[in-house]
Symmetry: C2
Subunit: 346 residues, 2 copies
DNA sequence: GGCGGCCGTCGAAGCGCTTCGACATCCCGG
DNA sequence: CCGGGATGTCGAAGCGCTTCGACGGCCGCC
């Protein structure tokens, strides 16, 4: 225990690997090898070094480590921080990402999409991160070619149209759409509608919106149901209007699939006002965060944000180790049946 | 334009400062000084260097820079990623932080509170960040003494009881509570109630909850109103129950202050069911994200998440430059009057 | 009994950058 | 016409870490 005078664990005096080496009576490289496990070290030396590490409160300097090893031990999380997105989902997702990354001894750098490709370029060129997690990927996403060009290990949340040489994780929204319709069909409903995302989201070519719609239509066709789909804007009054006009044009619809987080509440609030009790007159099933649906007693296909986050990080870590990963990982949707759906005549 | 063969801007070949120096025909240190502006450089040299920087697509290696300059140009954003928090607020806040930080040429490392003090220690000791933004600070927060000990530049969002040697930013929740009550009083209401955060939040000693309550009570006392305050749990049914029991015990309440994001919707939905039309029978004013209130046509004191985020980063940057900053920065609440409040007899 | 091989450790060479002191060069004033 | 302060540039010394090659000691094997 030869602690140099003045050496404490508190601010001001960063403990270096040389300090640890001196304290343990070994070479700095030995300390490094103990910590990284990249060479065999005798048990007795290892214990002595580890004891010194603890005694001095040593944490390797991130910059030096990154410089020497060419790994930052940081991943970037690129979030679509435009407002109006699926906020709680993003949050849950971010939590899962950070937690999982920490478990793999990595930290998370938060990057907003609106820095755009330049942001990615910068992050990559500065070697600030070893890999990237990209959220809210659109069908034709401008960042995708860039990722290929930069040869930056990445995992996408979402599902661009060309997934070659990428790694993507997503809920199987196509299947989710099918599951909703199958559920409604199983309850005996023959006419259903999808109240989808805002028109702008479809226009942007956002994968999940398109895929859900396709799934709804596919299942409807397969099961011989009548299905109509329409986008749905945000805001109480817009929703009310869209819903009213839908029911006006198709008064015999008995099943509603809602894929629009912010519409769930208003839809449930508006239906009774339009003379439809849920679930007696109208079955409602949503694709939305489970938290939201649970509160409202809503049958839904939850968006498994946490699971997606964990998977994404796991895949990225695998990529960082140069292990092969599947191009597309789709999570199987599950249906949580609650009180908002019921059979005909119940 | 002597580009070494094979040197491109794409993946694989990091461009170093030496490359730029060679390309521009100057010493590496000159390039550094051009980029940092820390020494005078002649216009002609500067332009030549900058041209080379652009031509080669040079971005300084973050690790090397951090190592040599002892600044990471990164700040940590410590978020309370426990669920059930004010999700959209957190998101808005995070957006503002990232955007503002980028404007100051800093990046943002996302850290979860649940790594706790150890996380802060690690980040600080590894010199990964130059400073820390701490959200969701409680009255007696265990991280506060640690911050002082680590001498880590920081800005707190929230307002612990002892702010000595700290820098805190927050909405003036005390004043917000007052503003709500003053508004209700101005409309002629004499009996008001505060439907607050979940009991657990008070128990945790969360500043904003306590302060709002204090503000409500202070204004009520000052203006001679009857005020009752009670916590409010989350979840539709709990809210309904709490609200019903409140109105049962105090049927003559005509003004309601709601400070619970997740309660806003259910409260508005439940009041008519309990025989109170808004605003005819009951005026409702909330302290919540404006987005939420706007949707519901609710009079509110918005939580200015963006503004707080910007301010926090600005203060932190100032701290990093060793400039003095005020210990407490309180943002003046403003009232957004909408359709949920009205005078008696209207 | 000697030698090849393995194990455990060390020293040194960078990683790419900043920064300090040194050194020209130029211009001004005396 | 020369000294001296700006002014502009350079070279070298690290920053703290990883990693490579080297090397001594030990064991087991022929």
């Amino acid at each position: 225990m030869t602690t140099a005078p003045g050496r404490g664990r508190t601010g001001g005096d960063p403990v270096t690997i040389a300090d640890v080496a001196r304290h343990a009576g070994v070479a700095a490289s030995t300390v490094s090898y103990v910590l990284s496990g990249k060479r065999a070290i005798s048990a007795v030396t290892r214990d002595r070094v580890l004891a010194s590490v603890r005694a001095l409160g040593y944490h390797p300097n991130a910059g030096a480590r990154a410089l020497a090893s060419r790994k930052a031990n940081v991943i970037a999380l690129v979030l679509p921080l435009r407002t109006g997105m699926q906020v709680p989902v993003v949050m849950q997702f971010a939590t899962a990402v950070v937690t999982t990354a920490r478990r793999h001894d990595h930290d998370v750098l938060l990057v907003t999409s609106d820095e755009g490709p330049a942001g990615l370029r910068r992050i990559a060129a500065a070697a600030m991160v070893d890999g990237v997690l990209l959220m809210d990927v659109e069908l034709e996403d401008s960042r995708v070619p860039l990722l290929r060009e930069l040869a930056l290990p990445s995992v996408l949340i979402g599902h661009p149209s060309d997934t070659t040489a990428l790694a993507c994780v997503d809920l199987d929204f196509h299947r989710a759409g099918e599951v909703c319709v199958e559920h409604l069909a199983g309850l005996g409903h023959r006419r259903v509608a999808l109240l989808g995302a805002p028109a702008a989201v479809y226009a942007r070519g956002t994968g999940f919106a398109h895929r859900t719609r396709a799934g709804v239509l596919a299942a409807a066709a397969r099961l011989g149901l009548d299905a109509v789909t329409l986008p749905c804007e945000e805001g109480r009054t817009a929703i009310r209007r869209d819903l009213a006009s839908l029911l006006d044009r198709h008064p015999d619809i008995r099943g509603l699939v809602v894929q629009n987080e912010s519409a769930v509440g208003p839809v449930l609030a508006t239906l009774p006002a339009l003379g439809r009790q849920v679930p007696t007159d109208m079955s409602v099933v949503a694709v939305c965060p489970d938290q939201l649906a649970e509160q409202a007693g809503l049958t839904c296909v939850p968006v498994p944000a946490e699971e997606v986050g964990r998977q994404a990080v796991t895949l990225l870590m695998r990529r960082l180790r140069d292990e092969p990963v599947p191009e597309v990982t789709l999570l199987e949707p599950r249906l949580a049946v609650r009180d908002s759906t019921a059979g005909r005549g119940q």
